[in-house]
């Protein structure tokens, strides 16, 4: 299938359409939005379902099959914050904190983009390996820690608060924040539960967690469209450099991800999903961690880039593109 056809097929699938509807609702200044508690409930449902299914699939995966993909994932977790930091600092001339804040977002991963990639690979008949959610958990936090460490080290001691009676940005507080976040608890917890309950357990709960998954995902993407749409106004304030970077970084990270994933032995579908993970930027786990650790980083830059530029780009165009790159790398390797 030529790239344009793949793109078109993707654009007319439920996820991008629901997202577009959300953006449109915001552009029309509609008062419609998902109730906050429903949004939170949907994200709990999606993350736990993802973890449970991934854990169940993991229970019949061999250690050998997952070892290299896991190593590739960790390598991406180290590489993506560094490239983002470098691009922000030396090409964009942003401050250390702004560059490190952005690196934390792009070094981490967006679970919704991951799910969208998984759905895409199923639709085009190249489903990804069942253990992919395990890799998602591996990529969630290293990027954030590396980026925050770079930021804290380069910022120097001038902004430390000395004998303040609180633990401003202490390593422990940030570690706690990242490891006890909703994503980590539900995904890692779900993986364990799914692994332990095995096939009979999964069969018992799958009518709820599997059948409703795609519908819930559509509702969630509708709200994501509204959230992204309401940040579109910020595109004017962030400037052309960040606009370009928000598209270029995912392409570069996606291409590196697809290549590493193929070398690590993943199928074209698996490589597409891992490439999408590398290309995606976190907008749930990273923002509070950055806010608490690097308070002088401007959150408008990183949130607008990850949410209003990179997220839509990946959902609409990026995933089919990474699929084509993964296909090309796989063909070249043979």
């Amino acid at each position: 299938m030529p790239l344009l056809d793949t793109l078109q097929a993707n654009l007319l699938s439920p996820i991008p359409l629901a997202f577009a509807l959300g953006v449109l609702a915001r552009l029309m200044k509609s008062e419609f939005a998902l109730p906050k508690d429903l949004y939170a409930s949907l994200s709990i449902y999606l993350l736990l379902a993802l973890g449970l299914k991934g854990g169940y699939e993991l229970s019949h995966a061999s250690v050998a099959s997952i070892a290299w993909p896991a190593a590739a994932t960790l390598a991406l977790g180290v590489l993506t914050p560094l490239t983002t930091y470098g691009a922000m600092r030396w090409l964009g001339r942003f401050s250390t904190s702004d560059a490190a804040g952005m690196a934390a977002h792009y070094g981490s991963v967006s679970a919704v983009t991951f799910i969208a990639a998984q759905q895409f690979t199923q639709r085009v008949g190249a489903p990804a390996e069942g253990f992919m959610p395990t890799l998602l958990t591996l990529l969630e936090s290293p990027g954030i820690h590396i980026a925050l460490a770079i930021g804290a080290l380069n910022r120097g001691p001038t902004r430390q608060h000395g004998d303040a009676p609180h633990s401003t940005g202490s390593t422990w507080a940030v570690l706690h924040e990242v490891f006890t976040g909703r994503t980590m608890v539900l995904l890692v917890g779900g993986l364990f539960v799914g692994y332990l309950m095995g096939e009979s357990g999964w069969k018992a709960v799958s009518p709820f967690f599997d059948s409703g998954f795609k519908g819930a995902l559509m509702l969630f993407l509708l709200e994501m469209g509204i959230v992204a749409g309401s940040r579109l106004g910020d595109l004017r304030t962030v400037g052309p450099f960040l606009l370009g970077l928000g598209v270029l970084l995912p392409i570069v990270h996606g291409a590196i991800g697809a290549t590493l994933a193929t070398w690590a032995g993943l199928s074209v579908g698996g490589a597409t999903v891992l490439a999408t993970m590398a290309a995606s930027a976190s907008y749930i786990a990273a923002p509070p961690a950055v806010r608490l650790t690097l308070p002088d980083a401007n959150p408008t830059y990183s949130l607008t880039a990850s949410l209003a530029i990179t997220f839509p780009f990946n959902i609409l165009f990026g995933i089919p593109l990474y699929y084509r790159i993964a296909q090309a790398v796989a063909t070249a390797q043979v």
Partner: protein, 103 residues
């Protein structure tokens, strides 16, 4: 009815700061506080972390000395980098001892 003059300190802040501010208030001598969620916009144009929530409003009833300590602390550690608004009001309460910590 006999009342005691106290200060009501109101802090409106980004939601990520809630646990940290709660911890600080206790450390600075507040005996308790209440928190409500809110919405709004300010001079910074945005509430920095729109994703986890809107903003929070913390209120605590304290002695004049503790109120001064809280406001100084906020000015020193939060006003530069965070979207934080704080103000104090004169109030009168019935049970003064309830809100007073030992110096």
């Amino acid at each position: 009815m006999h009342t005691h003059p106290m200060k009501l300190v109101t802090i409106i802040a980004e939601p990520v700061l809630e646990p940290r501010l709660a911890h600080d208030l206790k450390q600075l001598g507040a005996t308790g506080f209440s928190v409500v969620d809110g919405r709004g916009a300010g001079s910074r144009g945005l509430h920095a972390t729109t994703i986890p929530g809107d903003n929070v409003r913390l209120e605590t009833i304290v002695s004049i000395a503790v109120a001064d300590r809280i406001v100084d602390h906020l000015a020193q550690h939060y006003f530069t980098d965070y979207a934080v608004v704080a103000y104090t009001s004169d109030i009168a309460v019935v049970r003064g001892a309830k809100y007073d910590t030992a110096p």
